[in-house]
Assembly symmetry: C3
Homo-oligomer: 250 residues x 3
């Protein structure tokens, strides 16, 4: 894929963001893109390819949103960027693909080349007709429940931290919140180092979401949590377990 891009646009600067998204996991890829894209300079072209529908009738897209261009399959991967203003076009123009398009690797044959042509100045509208109805994922958002907020684990990072569907904007740290996950009440702390060793805590993470972490350990393993595990934020301190050692489950 990098070769195909450089074959068309020799002078671009390629930046690897991640190759660690789980196979076929479009939601995890969309969350990674949401977390990373906005730190790049305006005008950056973001190519994202998690593409279980490659070679079927699913469309390819180029999208303008948030000062960036995005290129990839129309399978919901770009859902976070449809919240604001956006425009999208279908990738159908054969001149902007490789001559031989395989049915199994459009990253190399379609999306990489499209990004390279964009980098060379081709207008998004030259790739094909406008698209008004791109696929959007059900985007995990928390709901009000019983005086609190009910969300879920949406991602487990490489440290085993649990990233949740609860946005930082829904949390007021001064409220003395408690967070319930996997049967435990946790206190809200400021950073990893504020969690006593061997215990779990909740904090506002670098993705602007509530996270659950274990200090220098894996919250996923300690708590037995997975993607989809419920996370409940209660107003007021209820944490009981943060001042005594927890049994490790691993």
């Amino acid at each position: 894929m990098k070769g195909a891009i450089l074959g068309i646009a020799r002078e671009v600067q390629l930046v690897d963001v991640t190759h660690d998204v789980a196979a076929h996991d479009v939601t995890e890829a969309a969350l990674a893109l949401e977390a990373a894209a906005r730190y790049f300079p305006a005008g950056t072209i973001h190519v994202a390819v998690v593409d279980p529908g490659v070679g079927t009738e699913r469309r390819g897209l180029v999208i303008e949103a948030a000062g960036y261009r995005f290129v990839g399959p129309d399978n919901g991967l770009f859902t976070p960027f449809f919240a604001g203003e956006w425009r999208a076009w279908e990738l159908v123009e054969p001149a902007y693909r490789l001559a031989d398009v395989s049915r199994t690797f459009h990253g190399r044959d379609v999306f990489g080349p499209a990004a390279a042509h964009l980098a060379r100045g081709v207008a998004p509208s030259a790739f094909g007709p406008p698209v008004a109805d791109p696929v959007e994922l059900r985007w995990p958002t928390p709901s009000e429940l019983d005086g609190g907020l009910l969300g879920e684990v949406v991602h487990i990072d490489r440290f085993g931290n649990l990233v949740t569907s609860i946005p930082a904007s829904a949390i007021r740290e001064e409220d003395g919140l408690s967070v319930r996950v996997a049967g435990e009440w946790l206190s809200l702390v400021r950073t990893y180092g504020d969690i006593p060793r061997g215990q779990a805590g909740a904090l506002l993470g670098s993705r602007n979401r509530l996270e659950v972490a274990v200090r220098e350990g894996s919250a996923a393993r300690l708590l037995g949590a997975k993607r989809g595990t419920a996370v409940f934020v209660a107003r007021g301190r209820r944490a009981r377990t943060s001042s005594r050692p927890r049994r490790r489950r691993s």
Copy 2:
């Protein structure tokens, strides 16, 4: 290794292709190089280092083939590029190595620096004498058998797809082929999305080889297949298992 290259040729553009080849697996590296190299622009210098013989008498090579230059150990890694026209030279000139050459990391001390000097315009013939007899791997090719083609699994990709020794050019999709692997008859389909969920199918993959895949799953795990597992292509449809669910073995 990247530092050693940039120390000699500050302006080159470094592109990582893969760091996921299994340790010491020269055949897997050669297959990866065959799959990727031809998508890069003409003139690209491909450095490949899977080098179990580092520090022994095995030679280092610079090769011109297919419009590219290749640099690495003479252990068969470049076998796919000896099919057409090629020229090779041994890397012996001390001026084009680091001052201290270790016995265990020639990627950093010999091959990276050689590539950097090539990038700066040094001629391949300046590195040492011509080589007429580079090491070549036994290259897996299928054989005609019983009205069909008998090949083998040569690579398992990160999705668990089985890449075979059977080239796309040996397959005519309109023939209604059936593919036998690990005791199952599979139908030839166009792309991953055409395989019923939980089942396996055969298709022409992005490496221009016959592949065996499971939709959003691992064919290696479902079929219990490994590198070297036999794959037989029969002319005519014999698939029995593609219309009913299969038991999962994992």
Copy 3:
């Protein structure tokens, strides 16, 4: 983090060295930096972020040493570069951070931006006050014992080779040394290919340290060795096991 850098210094060349340091393992990161940094051109800015204390009172540093600049947390990560001449400054100037600094990802919010501003020509002293007492790790060095040298395994590389605390400069190959690790006496060899198949040997590795390796296999697994496993170098040949096959323990 790459986006944050490019947002400030669009023209820098980003080079990934490793993303495989174990989580929170500052010593392993310091060893990796010691091994790699000196191969880069003078003037290179090395950003290293293994940062279990992120968001606490631990300082951030910019360091000048060995012709390079280093940026990262003040937790001992740069210990190898305090052996020679160095100068350090604390990263406190808000103008050289992102506008919003999270408590959990200073690589993106503080260290990456600082490196980008350095690349644009900002003087190290502009980031904050000089630091005279940076954190230093206990650095593993061998000790003389019983006519030999007692060291330890400090790193296990991706091949399973054991990198030790014993520097190459402490070894004279002509002395006929024997190396004891995990209950086995090993001979000193020149390179991996000199080790009989299925056996272990000791050699001077590419990090200028004594290494223990198994030919095309994992010394860590074969010998059951870990970080901290003792390694003893005896003057004179005592190896008994190198000429007969060893039982594999895995």
